[in-house]
């Protein structure tokens, strides 16, 4: 049992990391897109600038979720304790 404990804990930790790590960026991206839609609806001629800034901002926010994904992969595939 004890020799199986580390893989079990690793898989649980990876699942927890991705699930909780995705909540924050998901909420933040939703707010950012909503604000950008609002701004485009008010001022359609600024859509080009807005969408470029939106894409860069979304990439920045999304990086946080990607970090958790990388941590999960590290735990699963490159675990130093296995």
């Amino acid at each position: 049992m004890t020799e199986n404990l580390i893989p079990i804990v690793s898989i649980l930790a990876a699942a927890l990391a991705v699930s909780f790590g995705a909540i924050g960026p998901a909420l933040a991206e939703g707010r950012a897109v909503a604000a950008a839609m609002d701004a485009i609806a008010r001022q359609p001629e600024a859509a080009g600038t807005l969408s470029r800034t939106l894409f860069v901002g979304l990439a920045m926010i999304e990086t946080m979720a990607i970090y958790t994904l990388v941590i999960a992969l590290l735990v699963l595939f490159a675990n130093p304790f296995v």
């Binding site: 600038t49 470029r52 860069v56 990439a59 990086t63 970090y67 990388v70 992969l73 490159a78």
Partner: protein, 232 residues
């Protein structure tokens, strides 16, 4: 299941191990280079079909760079355009059966981000001078020097991880779905991958432009040309 972090060596050239992403990168470089040479060999003032499309492409990149750095895009066009094209083609290369995009491995992305990192320093030094570039680390005050130094490293690292994570997760999901379901089920996911790949190539290029533009600083003694044209 294969780890996305490990690589298999295909063959050796001398002491240097060559892996599949390196081969695919070489193929993309050769294909892009040949296409560029062949398509720009007979340029004319009255453009044909290919030249029109290429001019449209270059002018779009120019417009994006000009919007981001607020100056003449000519010094940045070769680097930014090449990075954008390479990442775009690399992300789309998963469409060829049996080929995994080279950007789905950490090493290719690290190489691209290191190019951006070196270009940031080079454009910063050539734009502001060595002293002027080093002085930007002490802005707004000398207290920020450690933070600015750390920022240089973390933003390069986040460039690597962002591209790697997005492309690799796409490849990974398609692999998992293909092993669970049949032949045609992953096709919508592959279409989504194409969109993600294009967006990530755009984001990589825009972030490189932002970093380089911020390092190079304001153009000396240059006023926006649009205001001069309006005055009679």
């Amino acid at each position: 299941m294969d780890s996305p972090l490990s690589l298999d060596t295909l063959f050796h050239i001398g002491p240097v191990p060559i892996t599949a992403p390196v081969l695919v990168s070489w193929a993309i470089i050769i294909a892009l280079g040949l296409f560029s040479i062949l398509s720009t060999r007979h340029l004319s003032l009255l453009p044909g079909k290919t030249q029109t499309v290429l001019e449209l492409f270059v002018s779009t990149i120019d417009a994006q760079v000009r919007d981001t750095v607020n100056r003449d895009p000519a010094p940045y066009r070769p680097l930014i355009g090449t990075i954008f094209l390479f990442v775009l083609i690399a992300n789309c290369s998963a469409l060829v059966p049996g080929i995994e995009p080279p950007t789905a491995h950490l090493e290719t992305d690290a190489a691209l981000a290191l190019v951006v990192f070196a270009a940031t320093i080079a454009y910063g030094v050539s734009g502001r001078g060595l002293k002027g570039y080093l002085a930007t680390f002490a802005e707004p005050s000398w207290v920020m020097i450690p933070l600015n130094l750390v920022e240089q490293i973390t933003r390069t690292f986040s460039l690597v991880v962002r591209l790697f994570g997005n492309v690799m997760s796409g490849v990974f999901v398609v692999g998992i779905v293909l092993s669970l379901a049949g032949l045609f089920v992953p096709i919508p996911l592959m279409a989504l991958d194409l969109l993600t790949g294009a967006v990530q190539a755009y984001i990589f290029a825009v972030l490189a432009t932002v970093f380089i533009g911020a390092a190079a600083g304001e153009a000396p003694g240059e006023t926006p040309p649009s205001q001069e044209e309006k005055s009679p």
